[in-house]
């Protein structure tokens, strides 16, 4: 640790960490320096020049957002000259800025409005010819170049945090605008982060535009319900209608864009709430079904409290609890811990952001977990991280950040991990058994079967030579792999001896929580006498209008979830729900409490939870970016040590292979019923796949045989390569698929289009 730098701001003695800028220190110390283009999570754009300060011994003004202080420096943040300078900047910003605050969405929450007021710019001093510029409609995003102030926040966030790199600045002085990069129409993953960071109303959500003013919306802090990254968001709610009092509705979702990032599913896929009423008949049938059930099957789209209720029901009624997704995740984490020896705690996304060497194995990460993708992008852009992406399928979304793509054969993940362990642990000191184990590996066979060559492994080693913070990301292909246990143990070796921190990318929003709260049984796959809770069964209780008993959706209930960071995060009620919830059933069966959140304090402390009541949980970022959301789960004792097994014959997948993978922004049955997200439920394959399977674009195909057979349209996706097609799963309701390996060899039959 280098020494702190002592200097003064406005006469106050302050200390800066190495690398910290004057602005960072000032903000931490509560000293105000106005900014317009500064965004905490990106590199400074340095385009607004509002943050100028005077430094002793330096001629002219210094941009505080990008200048680190030197020892003994004396900084002045405000005086008459600086005020005049800033006022002039604001006057220039206001030249010909349309006076349409009355209708602008940003009004009331607009940086330009605030700063114009702050510097008291009441009239226009300068003149420039007004331009006629067309409003652009880019799908979910509308761009009005007339309102744009060229702060470049959007391009920075798109490039440095998201990784889409879809928009750029078209230089032209006064005529500068933001344009889609290398394309006529915006082609991106529609995360909407550019909308969030836009300080004015230039980039707005096309669905939300002109629907409500910032001050009319009630902001409800919560957590995104779509994937395991657990991103913070705020539901903005208002009552609809004026003549007839309407209902509460979510108008938009916003986030603390300075410190947190949100993908498009979180930002635009919010209207999955249900209207419900107390259906006493269905309730009675549900009670009777639970009384006579042998087991409850549930999905991981559940809060910890509900999971605990299910666990209590299991104890009271002697049921079995099925959740293959969480059970396999738990088994994977335990197997990992058995060889990782105390380094079993999965790494957080913040640790991933700070990494300079990243290996991703077993996941199409950009669509599986955007939170991880953004962390990888941030690491690549800010830490210069080398990113090795290992998967049977190349992903164009990742190509901006990936430094090395390694393609391995489907099903050979065990061999891949073994080769990685052998190669990356070759030069480090291990213990006797591990060294013996690594010696024993038949790298020739593994290399041949998995198609991962020696040169590729050498290249990884070369790239990672100087790396200080290495992270391994393990995806959900691995959890349901037949050799998942051994894969996890091999990863454990990398964690223990290679110094790799490991992110295990759980599939669903609360896979981690469900795996900790419940004692799960192995699922036999039969639906007979099984009550499904947001899952398949003979009686289905689900947040779905077609279920036998409809319960509240994730944005309609209070509760907590656990993210992949092992971070317990609170969720709040965005829209009310009139019908029954699981706690009502539990009350009838004698294990309920007054409210579902009364269970929060009873979550198992031996698994790392704290006995904290729900209402004591905070959910916000402090102005300087400290995370005050819920709490981090305590470390648990490490599982008993186990040995890795030498991989035997690796499986082969020949013929037509599909990969269960959702399109961008789609995750599950909840995202499938939102109004703004695109729902392309086609089987997507490459040109090569189409030729091999003798299919043409738009053909209707039958996938699989027997009961599992279903038909879909086939489309050729020019972004894809290779002979594996992508099959979406989001449109299959609550059909559990956590228990199958994501690649599958299937028969694809062309169905006549004439039917």
């Amino acid at each position: 640790m280098r020494e702190m730098i002592n200097f003064t701001i406005d006469g106050r003695k302050v200390k800066a960490k190495p690398g910290e800028t004057i602005l960072n220190v000032a903000r931490r110390e509560g000293i105000y320096i106005p900014t317009m283009c500064y965004l905490e999570k990106t590199t400074p754009a340095a385009s607004c020049r509002l943050c100028v300060v005077e430094a002793e011994g330096v001629d002219g003004m210094v941009l505080s957002c990008q200048t680190p202080p030197t020892e003994g420096l004396s900084v002045v943040t405000n005086n008459a000259t600086l005020y005049e300078e800033r006022t002039n900047i604001m006057r220039l910003y206001d030249v010909n800025h349309p006076l349409e605050c009355g209708v602008c969405d940003k009004s009331g929450a607009c940086d330009l409005q605030n700063k114009t007021m702050e510097f008291n710019v009441a009239s226009q001093h300068f003149t420039a010819k007004e331009q006629s510029r067309k409003i652009e409609h880019w799908g979910l995003i509308n761009y009005d170049p007339n309102l744009c102030i060229m702060c470049e926040k959007c391009t920075h966030v798109c490039n440095e945090v998201i990784g889409d790199d879809a928009i750029e600045l078209k230089f032209g002085g006064y005529k500068s605008t933001i344009i889609p990069k290398n394309s006529e129409q915006l082609d991106c993953t529609y995360c909407g982060e550019c909308i969030a960071v836009c300080p004015v109303g230039a980039l707005v959500s096309s669905d939300f535009q002109y629907k409500a003013n910032a001050w009319e919306l009630e902001r409800i802090p919560s957590t995104c319900a779509h994937c395991s990254a657990g991103c913070a968001l705020e539901y903005e709610v208002k009552t609809t209608g004026a003549a007839v009092p309407g209902e509460e509705r979510i108008f938009r979702v916003t986030n603390n864009f300075e410190y947190a990032t949100l993908c498009g599913a979180g930002r635009f896929g919010y209207d999955f709430d249900l209207k419900g009423e107390k259906d006493a008949d269905a309730f009675a049938r549900a009670v009777s079904a639970l009384k006579h059930a042998e087991a409850i099957r549930f999905s991981s789209i559940i809060t910890n409290e509900e999971a605990l209720i299910l666990q209590r029901l299991k104890e009271k009624l002697g049921l079995k609890l099925y959740n293959e997704d969480a059970r396999r995740y738990m088994a994977f984490v335990e197997a990992f811990g058995s060889t990782a020896d105390g380094k079993a705690e999965p790494a957080t996304l913040d640790a991933l952001k700070a990494s300079d060497a990243i290996v991703v194995v077993g996941s199409r990460i950009a669509t599986d977990n955007p939170g991880i993708r953004y962390a990888v992008t941030t690491a690549a852009r800010h830490e210069g991280a080398k990113v090795v992406y290992m998967h049977p399928l190349e992903d164009t979304l990742m190509q901006n950040v990936v430094t090395q793509f390694i393609k391995y054969e489907v099903g050979t993940e065990e061999g891949v991990l073994a080769l990685l362990a052998q190669s990356l642990l070759a030069d480090v000191e291990t213990n006797k058994t591990t060294a013996a184990f690594l010696d024993e590996l038949d790298d020739g066979y593994l290399s041949a079967e998995s198609n991962v060559g020696e040169e590729e492994l050498e290249q990884i080693k070369k790239q990672f030579k100087r790396a200080k913070a290495k992270t391994l990301v393990l995806g959900s292909d691995l959890f349901a792999h037949p050799r998942a246990q051994n894969i996890a143990k091999l990863a454990g070796l990398l964690a223990r001896f290679g110094g790799y921190r490991v992110v295990i990318a759980a599939r669903e929003v609360n896979t981690v929580g469900a795996s900790l709260v419940c004692e799960l049984d192995a699922d036999n796959g039969s639906d007979a006498n099984v009550v499904g809770y947001n899952a398949q069964g003979s009686f289905v209780i689900a947040a779905d209008a077609k279920a036998d008993l409809v319960v509240a959706a994730m944005n309609q209930q209070e509760g907590t979830v656990v993210s992949i960071d092992r971070h317990l995060l609170p969720m709040n009620v965005a829209v009310g729900y009139e019908g029954y919830v699981l706690n009502d059933l539990a009350n009838t069966l004698g294990v309920g409490k007054r409210y579902t959140i009364d269970f929060t304090a009873e979550l198992p402390t031996e698994k790392g939870f704290r006995a904290v009541p729900f209402d004591m949980l905070e959910n916000f970022y402090s102005p300087t970016g400290e995370d005050h959301r819920g709490y981090l789960l305590a470390k648990v004792k490490k599982p008993a040590a186990q040995k890795c097994e030498v991989p035997e014959a690796l499986p082969e997948f020949n013929g037509t292979v599909i990969y269960r993978c959702n399109p961008v922004l789609q995750f599950n049955a909840l995202t499938a019923r939102t109004s703004q997200l695109e729902r392309s439920d086609a089987l997507r394959g490459s040109e090569q796949f189409a030729v091999a399977a003798r299919l043409r674009d738009g053909d209707l195909v039958k996938i699989g045989e027997g009961d599992a057979a279903h038909s879909r349209a086939f489309v050729i996706d020019p972004a894809l390569k290779g002979t594996i097609a992508l099959e979406p799963t989001f449109d299959r309701g609550f059909a559990a698929d956590g228990n199958v390996y994501r690649f599958e060899k299937v028969n694809i039959m062309k169905v006549s289009n004439d039917e």
């Binding site: 009355g102 001093h125 003149t127 003013n213 001050w215 009319e216 004026a242 003549a243």
Partner: protein
């Protein structure tokens, strides 16, 4: 009058006098006498005569409401009106929501959307007159002089809802085009010396 005099609350010092009031009748006989006197003395006919006399004089000072109404001040704040632009007749309201925000009795609600021409359109607008205290803030804050107070103070109808709809408050289109719409001179209106106060934006062409 000096302040001392004004604040002097010493009742005994001023020239007050007591009204002579007869004692209340105590016995039954006294009560009977009072009733008989009041019923049979001609006081009733005195009143009737006054009315009769004034009627035949045909020199009446009473306003014949509702046939006839007294003129009210131009800045009187009665039921709201929604103005249109002159000539084009377009609604002035842009849906900025400031009236909704400033309303201290929280009686204005509006719903807006984006229309086909990418402009903000007000789809629903209501004022709950049961709650409105006619303070005039909405008219004062309105940047477009769209919502104003009208002179209509007669709030009788079968239903309160008859007064709250945007359409009912809106100036009829034919009136606006004919130029019959009156500007409201109350709070928020353009003052007579506004022209002198306006600073022109420098133009490049």
């Amino acid at each position: 009058m000096s302040l001392e005099q004004f604040t002097d609350r010493n009742v005994g010092q001023q020239h007050y006098f007591k009204v002579e009031i007869d004692d209340y009748p105590q016995t039954g006989w006294e009560k009977f006498k009072q009733v008989t006197r009041r019923a049979l003395s001609g006081e009733l006919f005195v009143g009737l005569w006054v009315v009769m006399r004034e009627m035949i004089k045909f020199d009446i000072h009473t306003v014949q409401y509702p046939k006839e109404k007294l003129p009210i001040g131009p800045r009187y704040r009665a039921v709201h009106e929604m103005q249109r632009l002159f000539e084009s007749g377009t609604e002035r309201c842009i849906g900025c929501g400031l009236c909704e925000k400033i309303c201290i009795s929280d009686c204005i609600r509006m719903d807006t959307r984006i229309d086909e021409n990418s402009r903000k359109e007000v789809t629903e607008y209501t004022i709950n007159l049961g709650r409105c205290i006619f303070c005039g803030y909405c008219a004062e804050v309105c940047p477009e002089l769209a919502i104003v107070h009208g002179p209509r103070y007669e709030n009788t109808s079968e239903q309160r809802e008859h007064f709250i709809l945007f359409e009912d408050m809106l100036t009829p289109i034919d009136m606006a085009i004919k130029g019959e719409q009156k500007e409201y001179p109350g709070f928020g209106a353009v003052t007579p010396h506004e022209d002198a106060r306006v600073k022109k934006t420098p133009l490049a062409y």
